[in-house]
Symmetry: D2
Amino acid sequence: MATHHFEPTCYHNVIGSQEPVLRVADGDSVVTTTLDAGGSDGRGERLALAGNPMTGPFYVEGAEPGDTLAVTIDRLTPNRDTGFTRSVVASNVVDPEFVHDLPPSERVIWAIDRVAGTVALAEPPEPLRDLVLPIAPMIGCFGVAPPGGQAISTATSGEHGGNMDYRGFGPGVTAFFPVFVPGALFHLGDGHALQGDGEIVGTGVETSFEMQFTVRVQKGRSIRWPRGENAQDIFTVGNARPLDQAVQHATTEMLRWLAEEYGLDTTAASHLLGQAVRYDLGNVFDPAYTMVCRVAKRWLVSSSRGTDHTLC
Amino acid sequence: MATHHFEPTCYHNVIGSQEPVLRVADGDSVVTTTLDAGGSDGRGERLALAGNPMTGPFYVEGAEPGDTLAVTIDRLTPNRDTGFTRSVVASNVVDPEFVHDLPPSERVIWAIDRVAGTVALAEPPEPLRDLVLPIAPMIGCFGVAPPGGQAISTATSGEHGGNMDYRGFGPGVTAFFPVFVPGALFHLGDGHALQGDGEIVGTGVETSFEMQFTVRVQKGRSIRWPRGENAQDIFTVGNARPLDQAVQHATTEMLRWLAEEYGLDTTAASHLLGQAVRYDLGNVFDPAYTMVCRVAKRWLVSSSRGTDHTLC
Amino acid sequence: MATHHFEPTCYHNVIGSQEPVLRVADGDSVVTTTLDAGGSDGRGERLALAGNPMTGPFYVEGAEPGDTLAVTIDRLTPNRDTGFTRSVVASNVVDPEFVHDLPPSERVIWAIDRVAGTVALAEPPEPLRDLVLPIAPMIGCFGVAPPGGQAISTATSGEHGGNMDYRGFGPGVTAFFPVFVPGALFHLGDGHALQGDGEIVGTGVETSFEMQFTVRVQKGRSIRWPRGENAQDIFTVGNARPLDQAVQHATTEMLRWLAEEYGLDTTAASHLLGQAVRYDLGNVFDPAYTMVCRVAKRWLVSSSRGTDHTLC
Amino acid sequence: MATHHFEPTCYHNVIGSQEPVLRVADGDSVVTTTLDAGGSDGRGERLALAGNPMTGPFYVEGAEPGDTLAVTIDRLTPNRDTGFTRSVVASNVVDPEFVHDLPPSERVIWAIDRVAGTVALAEPPEPLRDLVLPIAPMIGCFGVAPPGGQAISTATSGEHGGNMDYRGFGPGVTAFFPVFVPGALFHLGDGHALQGDGEIVGTGVETSFEMQFTVRVQKGRSIRWPRGENAQDIFTVGNARPLDQAVQHATTEMLRWLAEEYGLDTTAASHLLGQAVRYDLGNVFDPAYTMVCRVAKRWLVSSSRGTDHTLC
């Protein structure tokens, strides 16, 4: 259960089977940093190509194809006082005929007040001059090496995770990824100090982070899509276009989870989800959109767990 | 500001320009009842064809094409002790190859405890034997007559409203509909004692209701899609397939609203929505899916309102 | 087997259960006219509201819910020398970020040379000054009354037919529609002298027509989506968004047809379609898109027909 | 203008920047072989992992990012007497509720008669006992290395080409790919003796091939999506889901082509495409679907070409 302090020196804009930067054991924690989506670090220095450069990959001892990698986000701290956003909603999230009315999109600076825990536009337009929003740090892009020698752009997402931009991936959550290659090869980056659902301007408040995460190998637990768990909820993540298909992936994965680990067959799971499920929207900006299927653990209390794989 | 007590005697399974059942004035309230989605009333008697039979239409004096009809849901009370659901998630919300694994879907009875404010399966399978969920009453299907002589099935939805199955349409909300015909011709029905996001089993806990709503005519306020407002939030509703298009409709309508009534041009609105918007999922079961774009009113406090149309 | 000459005096912009304008017997032919999509007749006089005003509905004696109405397009003749198009591709058929580059769309006049059988822009831009295209007349919008009292806008399409804008609906084809109401109530209009796949400028060469069609009632033949047959092919039509769903509807309907009338179970039909099917694109402009699943009759020759319902 | 005879010894199931197997000059031809989609060669020996193993990559001297690689398919000859298909349409091409009715899908053998130029099921079910179809050889999957170190599974497609399964990629066609890396790194494989539109059973008649292709570098010609040209037509290819987005990519790419090389601005191009465009369906089976936008060269004759990049 060591805690490694790792300072990255190279970054990747694809998630694949690159040479690991560090080998860690099952249960170890890592304290490290991530660049912002544009490739800049905590001092504002540009160290990598824009487009979600990743820290890693980290090789987790004992992780084999067919296992699950559990990653708990222990802490997520912006390590500078500014972030940036794009200034206009993306053309794919408005009606096609409304695109004509969109002004040009520019890069805009936000001030991050790390003491107060807030963000605000550095130069707000008049109607937003008093707008101060609470920070809610999250990881936009993280995941494991996909199978078969693929190297997938950090602009998109899939079964391996990737650029999901889901607000729920913040401190306290444990994310689960299917392991496709020995060591899992975990990558992470693209932190946001804050982000609305859908990442509809194409960014959250993009900034660099200092963070800690802890990895665990769940031997023999086989999952197909990223999953997550926090104090209140369990959730599954579908990445695809259209959103309809992302809904299908996430819902199917939740049905599998409820069957395999909570003793709910498809009918029992349908009773519960039909009346209690929540869907959250990850990004609707990238090539693959993200939809999350979430259910409160309080409704699962009475169920017998089929296994003890799940953490927390 | 009269309060009408109206007992329906006929019901419609399309939303169109049927003969009004009652004429009410701007500001009036109506106390009435709705059948469940299967056509049964508070005594369990089948009075109409299945498929969301509507109470109404109500003619609202003074409403003209180009205006907006505001409907506040004052109260929504189940008027019997049972509701029904379908027992299995719909085949369109799971991966195509998983459909083979779905068992047959049956009609299932839920007990509604109106004193405790809870629902529970009448004959729960073992793992759900202790499942008791709080009721959260809502209107699944309501809206106004569409333009041009259309009569649209209550199985689907559109600019006129219809079968949106959004949890947010519960007591305390004010829904806004574009007026397409003189008198607006407001229909409502398909109440749910409870429903998860997406209405993924094809039903909420379907039951009959006794309810009160209040109508107001907003002269000269022109909207394109249903909108809503409650104590915390304003929201807009897009109805279409795929969900991607519903996102586009709802987001575009929110940009229009923020521009016209909150003084936020597209760039200012993008700053706010980009970091603070929420998307909620209405149904992903019907021919048209429903996505809601929602923003907290607390972030709008500092903005000057362009008009005073909005209620509450 | 009478031939009726019918001169319309009123038109509808929805397809529903309006009062029939003429009652015809099984096997009868009708010679009539249709307005262009903008509501103008052969003399250029505006007689109806824009948006695909329909001639009809025609009540076909003996047609009952559960039957199929077969409509053979015997002849389709433009009855004036001009048509119109929109000048720019629709914003929904290009990449969202390309919409900014689209110029404004205007109404443009085409000359129809009825002797030569060609169309050409009345005032072509220089690079198209020699462009002369062969006419290929077709019906953009036709269908039967939908069930349950629905009245569906002629801007869209569904199981009842409607605005499908498929090039295959020209002279010599027999179209099949499911009958939902007594008499079927057949509507038609929106003729095009020519149209590319997808109707991507939102119009074909829109003009008025003089035409003849013949109706037959197929008792007990139950279909779910429009179908068609010509000398070479049989085809099925799916109307929905996204196109993926239109593909599903059309393919499923073809599998049903091959099973019920050509003796091919799903596996045999899959062998054939997998290697020989063709998909054609109807419009990708309207609220519902149209995809056609087509198979050459030459590959069906060796199969025993299960029934003798099919014409031609 | 050398002709290389290349016998592959290794294969890749991703398209990326693997070590080139051969360096060829601009204008050179290559005679080589491809395995079938399952990894077997002309003697039926399994030499690679299933899932479209590629021959290559070929490094084309002089090709630089920003150029276009033109690949003419000179000849495409099945090199054995059998192919295989899947026996049932994929679950994603039928209505979700119809999936229950699909029988299990099995691998089925077809006989390829290379003298007669036909294919037939080795063990046809009774209703197809006389079904003999003409072969129409095509390349299912080919393309160039994507940018940024990506390695994209041959199960899918994108701007770089990949698994498009378009019938139009047969002998006589010239395919154009955007060059993203030095040498372009061209991969090819997954030949089909025959395939219907959409590849709806998940396969064409999958077999191994002996073939010849010729490469040319088009310096300074910048394209965004694969294009093609044959004796009759030019076409552009969009790869995405849903099909609606593939339509957008292909149409936008065609508008760019007509503007840059045929002197047709967006309005002139819209006039032409609106009335003369054809859309063809590549696969609707893979993660990304494929739609082709095609226009006959006869309608382009009168236009002045802006450049002389295009071959044929």
